[in-house]
Amino acid sequence: MRIGARFVAVAVCAALAGCVMAPGDQKPVVSNSASAAPVGPARLITGGAKLKSEEVGWETSADPYAYQDIRPGTRPAQKSDEAGLWMVMDGMERQLRTAGNRITDPALNEYIQGIVCKLAGPYCPDIRTYVVRAPHFNATMMGNGTMQVWSGLLLRCRNEAQLATVLGHEIGHYIRRHSIQGMHDRVAKADFLIFLQIGLAASGLPPGVYNIAELVAMGGVYAFGRDHEREADLIGITLLARHGYDAREAPKIWAQLQQEMKANKDYSAGSLFYASHPPQEEREATLTRLAEKLQPATDKFAKNRDQYLAAIGPWRNGFLADELRLGKFKTSQELLKMLYADGFKTSEVRFYQGELHRLRGKTPKAEKNEDLLSFLGAKKDAPERNDFEVALEYYEKALKEPDPAPVIYRSIGLAQQRLGNDDAAREALKTYLSLAKNPKDRSIIEFMIKQSS
């Protein structure tokens, strides 16, 4: 009797789960789970590149929702869940359009949208690109075609081919409708869980069963998301190769990022189980393999380094200043080193090296507070020398370079002030004001000069 009751409860639960796992308004279509290659119109722009899963080198995900690619120039039907998602995203896009950290400079926007259009082909009018001043390595795509390109990405890419890798990846998310797929997956798994929970409660089975099921479902949601990233990587590099870019630049962005991250000894890749993206090592290895398949090893493919540097050039210093303000000095130091090796202007590297020391502002005396610091969990990493003194040495070197920027004097003034050298600080700040053209910070600097005299 008791076993019977349990069975009924479990069966009812299973039936309910089966019913809610099927997304309501999606017509079942033939599943494409056998291949990770883009299907449908995605082939319009990827040139029908169809790579088998063993070539790609990862396990392809089952695609239980069997979404066809979105067609160029279309919006989802108003009754669909996807239209609801687009409605919310349209609202977010309106906010983004007028966001304070958006870069509206026409030249930079045209340059990036131009690359997007080249890669996206017939999807070009459907994808709206917003350049956002945010100092992290990232770009995002919303389901309605709103793409964000963050300034931290522009700072880190070395050429147009690397930027195009990321843009192509985001275009892949759009074409494959990953937003709605992800939403349906999360909803289906959560719905399954609630009925499982009710069923288990009714059957009197131990609650531990539910905890395991929840863990499996959560892991499944993240795994599904990682498969989307892999699919987007594949579309990205396919577009890159198809448009004559050097596909070997694609894995490099992940190698560069790893080098930067590993400069921080405390760096950990986090839990594999809950990761939103595949590990960088995996992405680098897979893209390397794909690049070899897609292109012969010659120099004839485009990197467009000059075009890239011309477009990003006027912004790079500002982006680097944003990066330093994050206070992640170990990784910023590595980034600066890499940019220097890549040919970043010596005068600027010297100045920003000085800025790094000035902003870090550590002194050997900090050891006094070590008991407190260790109590708070902070590591002992007091430098051998006062950061402000080191900063001043770099500023002096930067001043010896041709055509030094007036802002160097401001930094000298601020560093001298921190060292207690008021006269030297005042002198440098005055020089800054005399050389800078309409500085926005004139009144605060004048105030500082007055205060210290």
Partner: protein
């Protein structure tokens, strides 16, 4: 956006039907011919709760709700002897520096602060001394000139409905003595005096019933949203 979500969750936790009303004046307008209210673009989203309670946004319902709300607003304001003028979105609204866009954003922040600091006992600001005293500043005069109105009405509504799956989950859980929540209406409306920027009337709606998808119940919802609106 995040704050609003937190707020919805917090308010959803309050029991039963809840309306909170703050107003400075029970009467609109100084002279009869200036009783015109500028209707700011309503921020409305309708959704359906999945079995587990996740809101699935519904575009078609939202379109219907906007149409019904517009009609109901017109009717109710006419009863209060006020005219309405609709805010017109233009290309200028895509410019981050547009004063109108900045004003709408400012209203979001001030409106949310007002809710947080009046609704929750622990969050009450001592220096307000219990008074409802919030303003957008006199930057609102620009809107008054542009539209020739004295007041602007801002509305925000998030309205969710119980899906078949959710109803099943609620029923099944109820058999086990567990209460799960169904669809809810959460919204607020503010009336701003455009000459001073002050919020002269404010109303919060949070309840477990109401329907914006059909005209008749939508009119009832708008009436509840505009409860004690100055006449």
């Amino acid at each position: 956006m995040f704050r609003i979500l937190v707020l919805i969750v917090a308010v959803a936790g309050l029991t039963g039907c809840q309306t909170l009303n703050y107003y400075k004046s029970a009467h609109l307008g100084r002279v009869d011919d200036s009783r015109t209210v500028l209707i700011m673009p309503p921020d409305v989203e309708l959704s359906e709760l999945s079995a587990a309670g996740a809101p699935i946004p519904k575009a078609e319902w939202t379109d219907q709700a906007k149409t019904h709300m517009d009609k109901a607003l017109q009717k109710i304001l006419a009863e209060r002897r006020a005219h309405m003028v609709n805010y017109q979105r233009s290309a200028a609204d895509d410019d981050p520096d547009s004063p109108n866009v900045q004003l709408i954003k400012l209203h979001n922040v001030v409106g949310n602060s007002a809710i947080v600091h009046h609704l929750f006992e622990q969050m009450k600001l001592p220096n307000k001394h219990g008074k409802f005293d919030w303003t957008l500043g006199d930057g609102t005069r620009r809107l008054a000139h542009q539209y020739g109105t004295d007041f602007a009405l801002f509305t925000y509504v998030r309205d969710s409905y119980t899906s078949g799956g959710r109803a099943l989950a609620i029923t099944a859980a109820a058999l086990l003595g567990v209460g799960l929540q169904g669809g809810r209406q959460f919204g607020f409306a503010t009336l701003v005096d455009l000459r001073s920027g002050e919020i002269v009337w404010f109303n919060l709606l949070a309840r477990g019933n109401g329907d914006l998808r059909q005209y008749a119940p939508a009119e009832e919802t708008v009436r509840a949203l505009l409860e004690k609106f100055p006449s």
